[in-house]
Symmetry: C2
Subunit: 177 residues, 2 copies
DNA sequence: TATTGTTATACTCTATAACTATA
DNA sequence: TATAGTTATAGAGTATAACAATA
């Protein structure tokens, strides 16, 4: 499902420049004829929200290119750093990831030596997840990249107060809507 | 790519209740043990933005269930209503949809008799897109559903001023970031 | 040559059912 | 029985290459 497209593929993850919706020139007319009327679309929160989200993810990817981490991978490492010793179900559920889909994701991170799976001694069904030293170093670097390159640009664009307000509204929608 | 999952499939489109990230109870502890620390994640705009977007799309789908329109389909019909007589490339490009992916989408809408493709007399390569009467009636009903059920709830949650400010910030990110 | 619509294709994300090994 | 991790699979969304018809 989508309002429209554009995202960055994981394979092309190096740093891709994304195709995006046509932006009108100042005259409101494009090369060949009259510009299209966006109508109610520009007042529809879901529409602009989706577009903004794609932009932000794309920028996140660019900023994180040196570490080759997707937003999802970043969120997993961050959660593991803060919550060592949790099992797959706990981490996946917290992030809204289906357990089956989490398996391949962990395979990838584990094969890059960023985390380890250990059978729990107390419950041998579950895997205790722990960042490796490399994983801890990576998430530390990643957080710096996000803060200095990504979030800093966002705050610069919006202003610190608006940025803060925006965070609050998004959280409200995410939790109360 | 994702921060985490949860969305509504088009097949299940009737009205689905979505699996979502665990919400903590007021104590900050869940059933089995300590709640997970979200850490920097709750301050990361991309993260909360994505979560909010999923919530909003899910609600959009529920509100639009009587008409069985996805956000993407809604945006196409809306654009066609405002801009009759455009060709596929123009509509697709404006919405950020790849032309190849637009074909199946139009097939679906055309088979539901919501729009028509006509070969342009002036340029026989291109298809002129027009809403049918049913298409116009449908988008009219859809706009009412969105306004009264979907956007109204959002405005109620945020307050009209905040909602307006949010729209502005999202547009800014979508166009200037 | 270039463009429009199209087909074919591939990769990602998401969801569900069902298996296994444990409990 | 129920749960954790897993496999298999299917449906969407998205991206690119290449073709036929037309310009």
């Amino acid at each position: 499902m989508k309002f429209f497209g554009s995202s960055v593929s994981k394979t092309t993850l190096k740093t891709a420049s994304l195709p995006q919706a046509k932006t009108l020139d100042p005259t409101g007319y494009d090369e060949e004829g009259a510009a299209l009327q966006m109508g109610e679309l520009s007042e529809l929160l879901g529409y602009v929200l989706k577009r903004a989200q794609l932009k932000i993810f794309d920028d996140f990817l660019r900023c994180m290119a040196p570490l080759q981490l997707t937003p999802a991978q970043f969120s997993v490492l961050l959660l593991l750093d803060r919550n060592p010793g949790r099992n797959q179900t706990e981490i996946a559920t917290t992030l809204g990831i289906q357990r089956p889909n989490f398996v391949a994701m962990l395979d990838g991170l584990e094969s890059r030596d960023l985390l380890t799976r250990m059978r729990s001694p107390s419950d041998r069904r579950s895997h205790v997840l722990m960042l490796t030293d490399k994983g801890r170093a990576t998430i530390a670097r990643a957080k710096k990249l996000v803060a200095t390159r990504h979030e800093a640009r966002l705050i610069e664009l919006l202003g610190p107060d608006e940025h803060k307000a925006l965070l609050g509204m998004m959280t409200k929608i995410a939790t109360e809507f």
